[in-house]
């Protein structure tokens, strides 16, 4: 039962990653990560 759930979540997670890559989310994460976050540094 537990193994079944684990396998299902792993497959689901990989599917989500693939869908995300098709939605250009990797590029969006790069874009956000490359900008300095003024809120994070407390001057936003």
């Amino acid at each position: 039962m537990r193994k079944g759930i684990q396998v299902l979540i792993i497959i689901g997670a990989i599917a989500l990653i693939v869908i995300g890559l098709f939605h250009n989310e990797f590029t969006e994460v790069i874009r956000r990560g490359n900008l300095i976050c003024f809120e994070c540094i407390g001057i936003g």
Binding site: Q6, A13, G20, R32, F38, E39, C40, I41, G42
Partner: protein, 295 residues
């Protein structure tokens, strides 16, 4: 169990039990924050590495950071009103394989709290209800970011961001120093409070406020890597709780949502009652503790 109780006496703790974990935590923190080219051109790393999401809390505005912070990205996707498939898939994959192990082995801010606690002399306990605050933070920050269009956790709470990005960037870049105001003072105050509490209490931020820890904890009960306690061997000496960075008694609930799988309890257990289970297969590590038999 009674037999074990009679044969062993509670040993004194030695500092060596935590060595491998702290060593790996330090290496991880170094790898995640090793963009030393920044010393030639003050700013931050801007490359494809930022497309990778760090499995632990590590601010992407840290001048040395190579990867992106999952909590920052989660709020960013709420702000741009887009469902974060890639982020949730990645965090789900990490969570289902290792549970909260990232908190114990990778997180740089966890390492800082562990080191601060090791220098303290006075020990305080957290009230139990405080461990639920992090779930309020996790499930509150996403709708708040969605409504206010601001990364509220990063902006008003995150002490890791203040320590890794805020203070270095403000000290380093003179233009940012001109912009320092009430918000920076608030964030530094929160960081100072967390630092002071870390000297007295085990990992106060991870246990009460960290939304990423709250997210991973949901997977603790079903993760591939799990803790196992042989209750026939356990003598309930509570040494596991003494060394546990999250202050839990692992024998009460090996699947505890608070367990960060740091394995310190395995190395300290005098009867080798605790083991780790990966894909249903038990991996038994030898205890590093030498105990004397009762005479």
């Amino acid at each position: 169990m009674a037999g074990f109780r009679n044969r062993w006496r509670k040993p004194k703790l030695r500092k060596k039990y935590g060595f491998p974990t702290i060593f790996i935590q330090a290496i991880s923190a170094f790898i995640l924050n090793s963009y030393f080219y920044v010393f030639k051109r003050p700013s931050l790393y801007q490359g494809k590495g930022k497309g990778l999401i760090c499995p632990s809390l590590n601010c992407y505005s840290c001048p040395l950071a190579y990867t992106s912070c999952p909590i920052g990205i989660m709020q960013h996707f709420a702000i741009i009103r887009q469902f974060p498939y890639y982020l949730l898939g990645w965090l789900g994959l990490v969570g289902v394989t290792t549970g909260r192990a990232q908190c114990g082995w990778i997180c740089p801010f966890g390492l800082i709290q562990d080191l601060l606690y090791s220098i303290g002399r006075i020990r305080l306990k957290l009230p139990k209800w405080t461990i639920y605050i992090k779930y309020v933070v996790l499930f509150g920050m996403i709708p708040l970011s969605f409504i206010t269009l601001d990364p509220v956790f990063c902006e008003y709470i995150c002490p890791a961001g203040t320590l890794e990005a805020g203070i270095p960037q403000v000290l380093w870049i003179s233009d940012y120093r001109q912009l320092v105001g009430h918000l920076f003072v608030l964030k530094v105050s929160i960081l100072v409070i967390i630092v002071l509490l870390s000297i007295l209490i085990k990992r106060p931020f991870c246990r009460t406020l960290c939304p990423l820890g709250a997210f991973y904890s949901i997977f603790n009960k079903i993760s591939v890597m799990r803790m196992k306690v042989d209750m026939d061997r356990c003598i309930e000496c509570d040494l596991c709780q003494e060394v546990c960075p999250m202050d839990i008694k692992i024998y009460e609930n090996p699947d505890s949502l608070e367990c960060i799988r740091c394995n310190k309890c395995i190395r300290i257990c005098p009867t080798n009652a605790i083991s780790v289970e990966i894909f249903g297969k038990e991996k038994r590590l030898e205890s590093k503790l030498v105990v004397k038999k009762r005479e």
